[in-house]
Amino acid sequence: MIRLEQLTVRVGDFVLRDISFEIPAGGYGLLIGPSGSGKTTLLETVAGHVTPLGGRVHLHGEDVTGLAPERRGVGFVYQNYHLFPHLDVGGNIRYGLTGGTLPAEAREARVRELAGLLGIEPLLGRSVRDLSGGEMQRVALARALAPRPSILLLDEPFAAVDPATRHMLRRELREIHTHEQVTVLQVTHDFDEALRLGDVVAVLAEGRIAQLGRPEEVFRFPNSAFVARFIGTGTVLRGEVTRQDATGTDSPFAAWLESGPLRFEVVAEREGTAHAVLRPEDLLLSRSPMPGSARNQFPAVVSRVERLGPISYVHLDAGRPITAAVTTASAEELGLKPGTEVVVTFKATAIHLV
């Protein structure tokens, strides 16, 4: 279990404030934010390398705020691995086992177990200088896991490897998480990672946690324009909300959102300026208006079609730039290409206001 309570941490010239979240024992948490937002320093604070200016760190139920790193039972994997260059692969993995009271056979068994789990048995006698990025990552993982930490802290573990290796490592990490029953806190700048791995995700912005929740929740209901843009949820339009009827009924109420030339029906909780998040997959495209007047419909012109395998992103000009996602098959069926005129349709409830 990892629980941070109103942690305040100095990161170079700025300060992270009021960082609070909890990852239950055996959970997989992700901390996501732009480069330079202090994610690594926050991990180092959890590990005890950095002393917070304020707040508490609780690990496995204990307040460890004043405890030295070697007494916290955490494993740490840095983005650039930081393997010990004067030790071979086996020596690196064995490092955390030699301090304790473990008999030599148990130590070697643990090294072999982890090497087997990560598929690096053939490397055990090799120098760490000759390894590929993926191999170094596996060795760093095995080294951190060897003393059976209850907490594993990962700093952008996939940033420096090829996409193909990244896929494999992600799968292995999932398996290890289950096999070793460890609580993981991983730092990333890639929201995809959060969707693929995390139970809990915290989005860091401007020194605070902008949003906290299950990855799917955050993806569907970003609570600010920053979060929506950062996780790439779709189009974010700034506009003015006005009630459809003048009655003062309680929230939520039916309303209009006006953003430049566009006017949508939305469900709002207050009037005034708001950001509307339009998820690409909620937008329907057709060549002619679809029947039914209760829906938001407006014309748009295709400016570009981006094929990404099974799915295509259609960039539209509707007075404002808007992006829709359709299957590649239906993009072909509709004959979408730059200049095609289409009608965009979506439900009022599909617009998320932040």
């Binding site: 005890g48 030295a68 494993g75 740490f76 930081h82 010990f84 490092y95 301090g99 951190a144």
Partner: protein, 274 residues
């Protein structure tokens, strides 16, 4: 207008020729300088006949002087390592008020003219100064005694030792130590298991270089302790009293020691970036 066509497209060969002329000129200037360093040393080494070397090896006064030099240089280096390596670690790893100032102070002896350093040490460690007097009471005298030689050597070799050890510590990523901490090591153990093995070679190279600098010192020592004579003072003494030929065998022997040490330092220093 198609701007692509307006690009100058000269013949590549002329450009390459111009380039290599410039390179030859640069290389020639550099070669002159290398010659100026190597020439005098080779000229001296050419005097290393069996006769001159045999003379040097049977000269009891010279051998005693070299033994004194090596012994005092070793003492100065050991004291320097004991006091300087912890300082180098603090300078490399901790940030504290005045760190940059101390960084600078430690380099100061490089620019102090050696006789000035000798005079300053004489004033600081002489019998009439507070510190010299205190040492005299416990039987340690500096001026005209062996401790004076060690003090002079230490003063001039501190910059080499501290800056070398500091860079050796800096070249070890502090995150390696942090990883060791999360793997269960206390701060002292992490230092011993990770930082020291990785910085060790660099520190050793700095110590050997500081030792060589101690062996080579003359200006500060000649003022503090003319007698007993270290090798460089002996060479100077013979040169001024007996003339150049009398100084050559001693100079050759000392040069051989210096070259041997230098080769050792080069082997110890980490391979350079390409």
């Amino acid at each position: 207008m198609t701007p692509k066509d307006s690009l100058p497209h000269g013949a590549p060969s002329s450009s390459a020729a111009r380039l290599s002329w410039a390179r030859v000129a640069l290389a020639a200037l550099g070669a002159l300088l290398v010659l100026f360093i190597v020439g005098p040393l080779l000229r001296l080494l050419m005097l290393a006949t069996p006769g001159s070397l045999g003379e040097a090896l049977h000269d009891q006064e010279l051998l005693a002087s070299i033994a004194l030099t090596l012994g005092t240089a070793t003492a100065a280096t050991l004291i320097g390592v004991l006091l300087g390596v912890p300082l180098a670690y603090l300078l490399a790893r901790r940030s504290f008020r005045g760190r940059r100032f101390i960084d600078a102070l430690v380099e100061l002896p490089v620019v102090i003219p050696h006789p000035v350093a000798g005079i300053a040490l004489l004033l600081f460690l002489g019998r009439h100064s507070a510190i010299g007097g205190a040492f005299a009471k416990i039987g340690v005298e500096f001026v005209s005694h062996i401790p004076g030689i060690v003090a002079g050597m230490l003063f001039v070799s501190v910059p080499i030792l501290v800056s070398g050890a500091r860079e050796a510590f800096r070249s070890v990523d502090p995150r390696l130590e942090r990883v060791a901490r999360t793997l269960g090591d206390g701060p002292g153990v992490a230092f011993r298991r990770v930082t020291l093995p990785l910085a060790g070679r660099g520190i050793l190279a700095a110590a050997v270089l500081a030792w060589a600098r101690s062996v080579s010192e003359f200006g500060a020592i000649v003022i503090l302790t003319y007698n007993p004579q270290v090798a460089s003072v002996l060479i100077y003494d013979r040169f001024t009293t007996l003339g150049l030929p009398a100084a050559v065998p001693a100079a050759l022997l000392l040069l051989a020691v210096a070259l041997g040490v230098f080769a050792l330092v080069r082997i110890l220093q980490p391979a350079e970036r390409r």
